[in-house]
Amino acid sequence: MKGILVYLKEYKKEAVLAPLFKLLEAFFELFVPLVMANMIDVGIAGGDRPYIVKMGLWLILLAVVGLTASVTAQFFAAKAAVGFSTKLREVLFGHMQDLNFTNIDQVGTSTMITRMTSDINQVQSGVNMVLRLFLRSPIIVFGAMIMAFTIDVKCALVFVVAIPLLALVVFGIMVITIPLYKKVQGGLDKVLGITRQNLTGVRVIRAFGQEEKQTAEFEENNRALTAVQVFVGKISACMNPVTYSIVNGAIMLLIYMGAIQVQIGNLSQGEVIAIINYMSQILVELVKLANLIILTTKAVACGERVAAVLATENETQGELPGVSDKAKEAYLVFDKVSLTYKGAGEKTLSDISFQVNKGDTVGVIGGTGSGKTSLINLIPGFYPATEGAVYLNGENILSLSEKERIDRVGIVPQKAVLFKGTIRSNLLWGKENATEEEMWEALGLAQAKEVVEGKEGMLDAVVEQKGKNFSGGQRQRLTIARALIKKPEILILDDSASALDYATDAKLRQAIKSLAGSMTTFIVSQRASTIRYADKILVLDDGELVGNGTHEELLTNCPVYQEIYYSQYPEERKEEKAE
């Protein structure tokens, strides 16, 4: 929490003024019963009409001053809270942009989104309420007691007993009910889970004739939920009656003690009324205080979660190992590379070595979870190799700046995502100052020309969020164009042509091949047909490189490749056997 409070610094003035003005308001409010007591004791008793009017005007004046102070305080509180959360949001969002891939995986996307939105909103309202109430409520409660002391010490002792008692009840009931409310939430989650499950799995449930069993399970949970709710209700229903009894019991005592004091001439009638008034003021503020404490604990918890994300720092890169002799043997060299993701027990890639010549097309194939995507993510250094090194042109890829790496490697991820905007704005992601000519060229290579030409507004056609208004295949072609426009040295297609039909897929590969002089290409795929004509095929199995060669070579010497290939082309196996 401390970690994020520094962002309140800019609003130090507001953060101090807001509670101060609140304090002022509370202070004036405490005078009201005293003025009223005077009105009764002096004005009424003496039949002094001008005095009564004077006191009446005093009451109005106190109200006006109180209003002014309060409005001022609300303004400062709102300004500080909003300013603080705005700053916090900006800092947090910026921080998230700077996290590296390892940290993005660790924190997780949905966590980041929650931190950015609901957590910060909670913190904002927490700060706002604290600034408004943390001085006001205690001041009213204890101020009322102090005022009672100034009137009569003996009567004030009733306050000394009643306040802790009230606090005990209010907080006690809250402490008891909070975990119970969590239980209610848990019960509700269960009911929700079953409802959801019955909708998403309706076909299976009906296919197995499970409707009755599910209904029975739902009803059982539903009943359990009601039981907890009624039980919590019974406890929290105590709050009002008990506090009411305490306050009014205290008033009874005050009447009794007041009467004795009046009898012996220590107190006046007006003063007794004032003391009773003070007592009734306490309850409302105590309840507010209790609510404030709950809200604050929630806000602090949210704040701590935000602070935790802010505390996630990219690890500084350690000393790079010396450049090995292998480094200069080819254009791109993987030298005994292993990768273990942070927090994972096992290696995702182990001991991978291969070399690629400039302009080659490299196919990468293997089952799901065999490490294909991990392998290609090492090329632009998105994750640093845990062991070994990746060399590009004889240099360790990690020794290049992040910008340089990104400029040289174009990657088309599995998930074809476009961003809200226009086709043009999406292409500009690849190259900020791309000309229209360059755009059409890239679109042509990516076989996306017809996609753009088919849309109204051509390059300025609107792209909805996530590119929802484009089909999967169209999106894939546009994301390929987006990567091609920056004319990368190395292009990586991570299973990014899976939604294209065979003819378009072939045309795309042809077009990419035409750039072979200037561009090295990696094609990751599950389809043997997509990679069979590559200059080199890498076969991955369970994180190990089990094959490295051309299609023909692999068919003779790589069992895993054979298995994959023949499962997709069973025809050829039979023919082979026949031969």
């Binding site: 009424i44 609300q74 909708l199 799995g201 004739g209 009324i273 990104i406």
Partner: protein, 576 residues
């Protein structure tokens, strides 16, 4: 709206006695709460000054106060408990009915409604409804009673002061309302801007890796900063202006207090009322605005609750699936003969889909369904399982129209493994046991072995007792499908509907799935949505589907010889 209220009352009717008790207790509470300031006032009137205090009278009054407090507290607690009881039981009844309805709604309804929407009706809407109802019970009635009661008490005691209170208090109510309407636009702008920001956050954070791989962090931050700046401005306005409500109503309250005090003091000097009465009025003046503010809140909540109730009733009122024939037959000792006779079907009236399809399947035959993605292969599954009813013609199993069979016996005669695997939250064991709850652990393991799932289940942290979430959690797509196969393997019904996996499963798991399928199909009538050539070629009948309709049927050789769509498909997809 009116009918919704009527229906809500209908649900409450069941608890009429509790409701009546609650109402009675509310009256008791309000009357006693108002009575105590009067007693306090009377006590004060007994202490006129030094030596002029009637202790005996005060004791009498204190005793009355004590008893009143006791009864108020008791009545309040019982009343609250009654309200809780009614609310949560009504809610339980409504949820129960809604869930029961979901079980009998036709798939044509469930398929078109987003799951999230239906879940939110059963959960969130019902919850909001409960909150509103509870608030209504506890505050609306006591609020109205308090206002009325205070008014009567004041008028009875002293008309002029009562008039001061009556005229001034509604002002605070008006002020609150004034501020609320003025801030509405500001809040609207705030939530709009917030929405804009959230969608940017979601878009960018979701695809953070792409953002980084294009080095776009700077541009994205800039875009964010711009929206954030706008959000700051409108948030400040909305929050500040809305936070004026409390100070303003408090101010009006203070004015009432000052007014009552001054006016009362004048009356007192003129001998109109006693100091005790004045103190009683002062305490009324303090309390009087509270129910006003509460009621305006309650009314909004109640309106909200009724809207939510309306949405739930909408679900409860949906037309259920066609009820079963009274003389519907249980399907037993299935041979597995399936006949489609001139079947026509479409999801949307007027949009033709299946037209006059006929098919004769002998017991034990394999039917492969092929076609490009989105060709409507699931339509056939929907009809066979009677998830949807045919529009024309009929489907028969062993010579009986399936509309004449009980749904349960028809469906459990089919074993179904779909590509979109669905697992239940629970243990692996429970998942496999789904269709046969009485199966022993040994039987389950046997079925898992037969479906090649045993080896990976064994390696899970708690083996067969590993708890998995609804989406299967850490299990891979292929493993999930193996579990679904084991689930069917355990009960092994006489007919099968299988959906072969597409490319997203790794080769080794895929081979296992193939083997498991092959084992299940032995001697059973099977419908297979087929992707692999071997399956297709071995099928007795191939149904070629396109745009929702069956356009060709026959075996591999026949279809190739036809040189139609199938021949084309075969050449492009498999011969390539």
């Amino acid at each position: 709206m009116k009918t919704t209220v009527k229906r809500v009352l209908n649900y409450i009717k069941k608890y009429w006695f509790v409701l009546l008790l609650s109402l009675f207790l509310a009256m008791v509470t309000v009357a006693l709460t108002l009575y105590i300031p009067i007693l306090t006032g009377r006590a004060i009137d007994q202490m006129l000054g030094k030596g002029a205090v009637d202790m005996e009278a005060i004791f009498g009054i204190l005793w009355k106060i004590g008893v009143s407090i006791l009864f108020t507290a008791l009545a309040q607690w019982v009343m609250n408990t009654c309200n809780n009881y009614i609310t949560y039981h009504v809610v339980q009844d409504i949820r129960k009915e809604a869930f029961a309805k979901i079980q009998i709604l036709p798939l044509s309804y469930l398929d078109t409604k987003p799951t999230g929407d239906l879940v939110s009706r059963v959960i969130a809407d019902v919850d909001t409804f409960a909150d509103g109802l509870l608030m209504g019970f506890t505050q609306l009635f006591t609020g109205v009673l308090t206002i009325g009661g205070t008014l009567v008490f004041m008028l009875v005691t002293n008309v002029p002061i009562a008039l001061v209170v009556v005229c001034l208090t509604p002002v605070s109510f008006l002020v609150a309302k004034f501020i609320a309407t003025r801030t509405h636009d500001m809040f609207h702008l705030q939530s709009k801007t917030r929405g804009e920001q959230t969608s940017l956050i979601e878009e960018m954070i979701d695809n953070e890796k792409i953002v980084k791989s294009f080095g776009r962090e700077g541009a994205v931050k800039e875009e964010f900063r711009e929206i954030n700046g706008r959000l700051k401005d409108c948030s400040l306005k909305a929050i500040f202006f809305s936070s004026l409500v409390n100070p303003c109503t408090r101010f009006v309250n203070s004015l009432v207090y000052a007014g009552v005090g001054t006016f009362g003091a004048f009356l007192e000097v003129n001998g109109g009322i006693s100091v005790g009465t004045l103190s009683c009025f002062l305490s009324y003046a303090n309390q009087y605005t509270k129910p006003f503010n509460e009621i305006s809140g309650v009314v909004t909540e109640l309106q909200n609750a009724m809207v939510c109730a309306g949405r739930i009733f909408e679900l409860i009122d949906e037309t259920p699936q066609v009820p079963e024939d009274e003389d519907a037959v249980e399907l037993t000792h299935v041979k597995g003969e399936v006949t489609l006779q001139d079947v026509s079907f479409s999801y949307v009236p007027g949009q033709k889909l299946l037209e006059q399809v006929s098919l004769q399947v002998q017991p034990g035959q394999r039917i492969a369904i092929v076609g490009p993605t989105g060709c409507g292969k699931t339509t056939l599954i929907n009809l066979l399982m009677r998830f949807y009813d045919v529009n024309k013609g009929s489907i028969q199993v062993d010579g009986t129209d399936i509309r004449h069979l009980t749904r349960n016996s028809l469906r459990t005669s089919f074993g179904m493994v779909l590509q979109e695997t669905w697992l239940q939250a629970g243990t692996v064991l429970d998942n496999i046991r789904m269709g046969k709850p009485e199966a022993t652990r040994e039987e389950v393991i046997e079925a898992a072995k037969a479906s090649h799932a045993h080896s990976f289940i064994k390696r899970l942290p708690q083996g067969y007792d590993t708890v998995i979430t609804e989406d299967g959690g850490a299990l891979s797509q292929g493993q999930k499908q193996l579990l679904c196969i084991a689930r069917v393997m355990l009960c092994l019904p006489p007919m099968l509907i299988l959906d072969e996996a597409t490319s997203s499963i790794d080769t080794r798991t895929e081979i296992r799935i193939q083997k498991a399928f092959a084992r299940m199909m032995e001697g059973r009538t099977s419908f297979i949505v087929a992707h692999r050539l071997s399956t297709i070629k071995e099928a007795d009948v191939i149904l070629v589907m396109k745009d929702g309709n069956i356009i060709e049927q026959g075996n591999h050789e026949n279809l190739l010889a036809q040189k139609g769509f199938y021949a084309n498909l075969y050449n492009s997809q498999f011969a390539g």
